[in-house]
């Protein structure tokens, strides 16, 4: 036998906070054999490098650091007897729930009753933004810079500019300031910061780091190492305004310009991806378009806090376990009876994208621009079933809304929109 063959009830791809929360929940919900696979040589995903605090506020009330928060999950997973496979990378899986993964032990073929996708996300790069200019060293994604300083004790530079006001960028501004770097500014193309309001205050304002809203980088200069960048104000269409250019001398540029859910292996397996979340289309159980396969964490949608991510991942874990306990577990056919959820006016994306049952459903919603006060309305086949006043909406924060879905028959459309 050349491939090492393994069977499992629930196999989780990715051992970050989502994968751990889902795996633990699956085990606690009755799945007998649970395997969590991670390609790194540690479990915990990105959290070991997130040494700032603020983790757990929404779940435990404690404000822990990333390593503290995740260590509790790792301990729990070990105590429950979950198999943790590190340095193991999933190369592909299929709709028969067979996973092929590579590790130093060899090639593994894992046959599961349920699979949970928890692959996380990756950072957008300079290439994605097509920033013009030279191609010197000294340009890092914010997450890579965070790994370098927090895991390897390497300072990425001295005079640093950060492009994008995403949370990782804001946290890195403070982190590198504390380590003695000059943070010359955070550049944001939008008229509002892209990260959580608390991070804008705690990471920039408290440290007197300038934030340039409505600005972008128009040029990067430097032959070997970065020497300077040019920034400019942008107009309403995000186009640079001539005459507003300003150069900043710096040796390092960090990019915090967005995260992309990692779903290459999901698409290869035939899972349908929502173009607005860039994650799999799921139903109320976080089940993807392939029966038996569930999705959670940042590969489902990019979360702004690990807390909410963990809460949702637990639901996915529980549902995956219920699936393993059912007879003929992979044959549940939801296609007969479903509601398709459509994002309407003011809504960037909404999860779940499909509903197959009646009763209370938990929606996570992202709006497309900040609003002080508005109403959110749910219309099932054009009849309003739910309306609620919302305040201080921010695209950086996911909104959670619980809505009772009435009885329905056959195919339906639920449109969710903001009313001015």
């Amino acid at each position: 036998m050349i491939l090492i063959k393994v069977t499992s009830d629930v196999t989780v791809i990715g051992g970050g906070p989502a994968g751990l929360a889902a795996g633990i929940s699956a085990k606690e919900s009755g799945a007998e054999k649970v395997i969590i696979i991670d390609r790194n040589n540690w479990i915990g995903g990105i959290l070991p490098q997130c040494i700032h605090d603020g983790f757990g506020i929404e779940t435990t009330g404690l404000s822990q650091t990333g390593p503290e928060y995740i260590n509790e999950y790792i301990k729990k997973a070990r105590n429950l007897g979950i198999t943790l496979l590190i340095e193991t990378m999933v190369l592909n899986f299929n709709n028969k729930l067979e996973i092929i993964s590579a590790s130093k032990k060899g090639l593994l073929k894992i046959k599961s009753k349920s699979i949970i996708l928890a692959m996380g996300c990756r950072e957008k790069t300079r290439g994605n933004l097509i920033i013009p200019g030279d191609r010197p060293s000294g340009i890092y994604t914010a997450g890579l810079a965070q790994a370098l300083i927090n895991l390897y004790n390497i300072m990425p530079g001295k005079n640093i500019v950060i492009l994008g006001s995403g949370d990782v960028g804001l946290i890195m501004a403070r982190r590198l300031k504390i380590e003695g770097a000059n943070i010359l500014g955070v550049i944001e193309i939008l008229p509002y910061p892209n990260g959580l309001p608390r991070n804008v205050v705690q990471c920039l304002k408290d440290y007197n780091i300038p934030l340039f809203l409505n600005h972008t980088i128009t040029s990067i200069e430097g032959k070997d190492r970065l020497k300077k960048i040019t920034i400019a104000k942008v107009d309403k269409n995000k186009k640079p305004i001539l005459g507003t250019e300003k150069t900043i001398k710096c040796d390092t540029l960090l990019l915090s310009v967005g995260l992309i859910p990692e779903n290459e292996i999901s698409s290869d397996a035939g899972i349908i991806i929502d173009s607005s979340t860039s994650g799999p289309i799921v139903n109320q159980d976080y089940r993807t378009t392939i029966p038996g396969i569930y999705a959670c964490g940042n590969c489902l949608q990019v979360y702004d806090t690990v807390d909410l991510l963990s809460i949702h991942a637990k639901i996915a874990g529980r549902q995956s376990a219920i699936n393993t306990l059912k007879e003929n577990n992979n044959n549940i056919n939801y296609a007969e009876k479903k509601i398709i959820v459509k994002p309407g006016n003011g809504i960037k994306h909404i999860i779940p994208q499909q509903i197959n049952i009646t009763g209370m459903i938990n929606f996570s919603i992202r709006v497309d621009e900040p609003k002080n006060s508005t109403k959110i309305s749910f219309k099932l086949n054009k009849n309003e079933i739910f309306i609620k006043n919302l305040k201080y909406l921010n695209p950086a924060s996911i909104i959670n809304v619980k809505v009772k879905i009435p009885k329905f028959s056959k195919n339906n459309i639920l449109e969710v929109s903001l009313n001015e």
Binding site: I2, S103, G106, L107, N128, I130, P132, R135, P136, S137
Partner: protein
């Protein structure tokens, strides 16, 4: 001071191809490269196209070396385990008027001895390339693609195995011709040689100037490119070119599939002042996207994962339309100085033939005797991502480092990174890893694997982490 028979200046595809061709003979050869790796300039930043020779003026050296180079490309690439694919090319006419240009091109190609040219119509175009809207095209079967940096690296590394000495990060400061010897002063010491082969590309004039008054100038001409994500690889199968522009010998912004599955868009065409100015510009990026959308309307700029530019070594100024031929010649003043000047497109395709020509020139001056033990084969291991499951399993059993994936976008293993860092050239930068095994070349552009590559450099190669360079 050791005397070498041959000193080659420049580790681009031309210098490396010459080094490899000369390493067949009993010669002491040294090659100087000023950057931290070979293929650091024009040879890495181009379209990677093996041209047919259809575009060059009949009887020109460009046409001759291109057609000859094209013929031997396949066997050379096989010897060196460098991938090539003769995908063929469509030169498309966007209107009735341009059909005349296709006919002219076909005639030119036939005169240059390019085989298999055929005018085709919408039906054939659509069935092979459904994303292209065009009524007429010229099909050029002998055009193809390769990985230019991998070819250069393989040529260089195979030369080393056959005894050529390569010095990286070695700049030529001055050269003197005294007592029939060239004295070469570099930042890494003094060297002596009987011959100098000037394959310095964009710097070719500086080298000539150290010995004689050059009769030409270099007019650097930048070309910018955009790289599309691999998930767009079904967009085209063949090389898609517009009708070449009348001026400058510029082939126009084209769409090129690559061996690795990405698609290249570009290059642009722009005379610049500084040979090192490889910047990219918003203006040209927009131009590329607009021109490509005219050929393939479905191209989406969200799929762009990278932008870069390369510089053509032109020796004819814009006011003369920038058209000039390659110059592969002996200096009339300094015996033993062989200059390779103005090697721009189709220099990559021509490289194997130019190397043979240089051997011919040298053989007229000294007697060359073939080595009994020339190792022509340069075996490269199969990439992990290209293996079958059974091959993967067996390889991991042999060496467990094959089971540890370092670059997740390209599925590159720790064993492949170690292998890249153990290269005979001694190149040990992040770029030298990237160009040898693709770690860091994928959609995350090194966001995840850089930290692991640094770890391997430290653990296995004792490199100081604070001194690790990008390139």
């Amino acid at each position: 001071m050791k005397n070498f028979h041959i000193a080659i200046i420049g580790g681009g595809v031309i210098g490396s191809a010459i080094a490899r061709e000369l390493s067949r003979y009993e010669l002491d050869i040294i090659l100087f490269e000023k950057e931290s790796d070979v293929a650091s300039s024009t040879s890495k930043a181009n379209s990677g196209v093996i041209h047919s020779g259809i575009n060059s003026p009949p009887k020109s050296l460009k046409a001759h070396f291109c057609v000859e180079g094209n013929k031997i490309f396949q066997s050379l690439a096989e010897e060196l385990s460098v991938p090539v694919k003769f995908t063929g090319k469509y030169i498309i006419a966007r209107n009735e008027e341009e059909i005349k240009d296709l006919i002219k091109l076909k005639k030119n190609g036939i005169e240059n001895n390019v085989k298999g040219l055929r005018l085709i119509e919408a039906e054939e175009i659509n069935s092979n390339e459904p994303n292209i809207s065009s009524k007429y095209a010229l099909f050029v079967p002998s055009a193809g693609i390769t990985l230019p940096y991998q070819l250069t690296i393989a040529l260089a590394e195979n030369s080393i195995i056959n005894g050529v000495k390569f010095l990286l990060e070695t700049k030529i400061i001055d050269i003197n011709y005294i007592n029939y010897k060239y004295n070469i002063k570099t930042n890494n010491g003094l060297f002596q040689s009987d011959f100098i082969i000037n394959a310095a590309g964009l710097n070719c004039r500086d080298i000539v100037q150290m010995l004689e008054e050059p009769d030409f100038k270099v007019y650097p001409c930048r070309g910018e490119y955009l790289v599309l994500d691999k998930n767009c690889n079904s967009l085209i199968k063949k090389l898609i070119y517009p009708i070449p522009q009348k001026k400058y010998g510029f082939l126009g912004i084209h769409i090129t599939p690559t061996i690795d599955g990405n698609i290249l868009l570009g290059p642009t065409f722009e005379y610049i002042n500084n040979i090192n100015d490889t910047k990219t510009t918003k203006e040209k990026m927009n131009l590329i996207l607009n021109e490509v959308k005219e050929i393939i309307p479905s191209v989406n700029e969200k799929a762009v994962i990278n932008a870069y530019s390369g510089i053509r070594c032109k020796i004819s100024p814009p006011e003369y339309d920038g058209i000039s031929d390659f110059r592969v010649e002996n200096s009339k003043i300094n015996p033993g100085l062989i200059n390779l000047l103005g090697i721009e497109s189709p220099g990559l395709s021509a490289a194997p033939a130019i190397a043979k020509e240089v051997v011919k020139i040298i053989s007229k001056n000294i007697e060359l005797s073939k080595k009994t033990k020339f190792i022509s084969k340069y075996e490269k291991y199969k990439k992990f991502s290209d293996m079958t499951n059974v091959e993967k399993s067996k390889t991991i059993k042999r060496d467990t480092n094959w089971g540890r994936i370092i670059c997740r976008c390209e599925n590159v293993t720790e064993a492949e990174v170690i292998n890249a860092l153990s290269n005979p050239l001694g190149a040990k930068t992040l770029s030298s890893v990237k160009y040898r095994c693709r770690a860091g070349m994928g959609r995350c552009q090194g966001g995840f694997c850089t930290q692991h590559i640094i770890r391997i450099m430290e653990e296995k190669f004792n490199l100081d982490r604070t001194k690790i360079k990008l390139k």
